[in-house]
């Protein structure tokens, strides 16, 4: 299908289906990929019937792909539900995601508050504009670097929490060190929260680890 009008969109659709079927039972994953492959081929063949220009076929395919992405994730959830960690895992997995997002929001708010506060204080004292005040403050204290690190950690944490349905192990791998940073630096009372996220992510990771059966 290399000469089809939706060539790039076809590759994107195949990439996406590989992503959300990754780690599922092979029959279910193969089934879904074959199903989508067939749909993509039929969409290309439809060009001959409809007379739609290639750009329109491409746009329509991308629209169908984007609009259906939440359902794809939901479908993956449906498939994983049967083999999700039982017992404590049923509580830990969603709680870790929520707690990670809250921690991320805290990091972001903390960075924004510190930056805004320092810039405004400088404006009041020295009569500088907020931007000039921040620049002066950053030069003196290295606040911009700290703020960037904090905001970056928060962003990564948020991405990890959102990505959890797609790649839970990767999400945990990101969450663990960031939560550990919060614990290690005892940031403004957030460390117990970070510890809870750390414990939750570690438990989630342990529950997802392949079980070794001893004969």
């Amino acid at each position: 299908m290399s000469d089809t009008p939706g060539d790039r969109s076809t590759r994107l659709a195949r990439w996406w289906v590989r992503r959300y079927t990754a780690g599922l039972d092979e029959p279910a994953a193969t089934f879904r990929r074959a199903e989508i492959d067939s749909d993509l081929a039929e969409h290309d063949l439809y060009r001959n019937v409809s007379g739609w220009p290639p750009a329109r076929i491409r746009r329509e395919r991308l629209r169908r792909l984007a609009a259906g992405a939440p359902s794809d994730i939901g479908w993956r959830h449906d498939r994983l539900r049967g083999r999700a960690p039982r017992g404590v895992g049923i509580v830990v997995v969603p709680l870790t995601s929520i707690a990670s997002l809250m921690l991320a929001a805290y990091y972001g708010a903390f960075a924004a508050y510190n930056l805004g506060n320092s810039a405004l204080a400088d404006q009041q004292i020295f009569g500088r504009s907020p931007l000039q005040g921040f620049e002066a403050y950053a030069d003196e204290t290295g606040a911009s670097t700290a703020a960037l690190i904090i905001a970056g950690l928060g962003l990564m944490l948020a991405v990890a929490a959102i990505a959890r349905p797609i790649a839970p192990v990767v999400a945990n791998a990101v969450t663990l060190p960031i939560a550990a940073v919060a614990v290690m630096f005892f940031w403004l009372g957030v460390w117990p929260f970070g510890l809870a996220v750390f414990a939750g992510a570690a438990t989630d990771l342990a529950l997802r680890a392949p079980r070794v059966t001893v004969p």
């Binding site: 989508i36 067939s38 259906g68 992405a69 994730i73 939901g74």
Partner: protein, 117 residues
């Protein structure tokens, strides 16, 4: 997506079942279902891929439709990937008739305010 009441069908599921019923026992593939739904709604937009196939899986798991892969020789002769074909089951036809009946009742009441169920 609208919340489902227990035992009820979502509008998309009704449309899928109707598309499956219309083709009979020969079966219909996913893209053709999307096309059929768009035609019925007089829309030029096809149902989103993920939405369509997730709904198909739900209906399949609920026993309202059944599916099978087409004969590989047919696909090879046409030079395309295998099609997954779907057709409505007896339970699906009953559920569809029930949903269509429920959908037509408000219209009937509107047309005839004296109508009582």
């Amino acid at each position: 997506m609208p919340r489902r009441r227990p035992g009820s069908l979502l509008p998309l599921e009704v449309s899928i079942l109707a598309a499956c019923r219309d083709v009979g026992s020969t079966g219909i593939h996913g893209f053709a279902i999307a096309h059929s739904i768009a035609d019925a709604a007089e829309s030029r937009r096809l149902t989103a891929t993920g939405t369509l196939y997730r709904a198909l899986h739900r209906l399949d798991e609920g026993g309202l439709i059944e599916n099978w892969w087409e004969d590989p020789n047919d696909a090879a002769a046409a030079g395309r990937p295998l099609r997954r074909l779907y057709r409505i089951t007896g339970a699906g036809a009953t559920a569809l008739a029930s949903a269509e009946s429920a959908a037509s009742t408000p219209a009937l009441r509107q047309a005839n305010p004296g109508f009582a169920s």
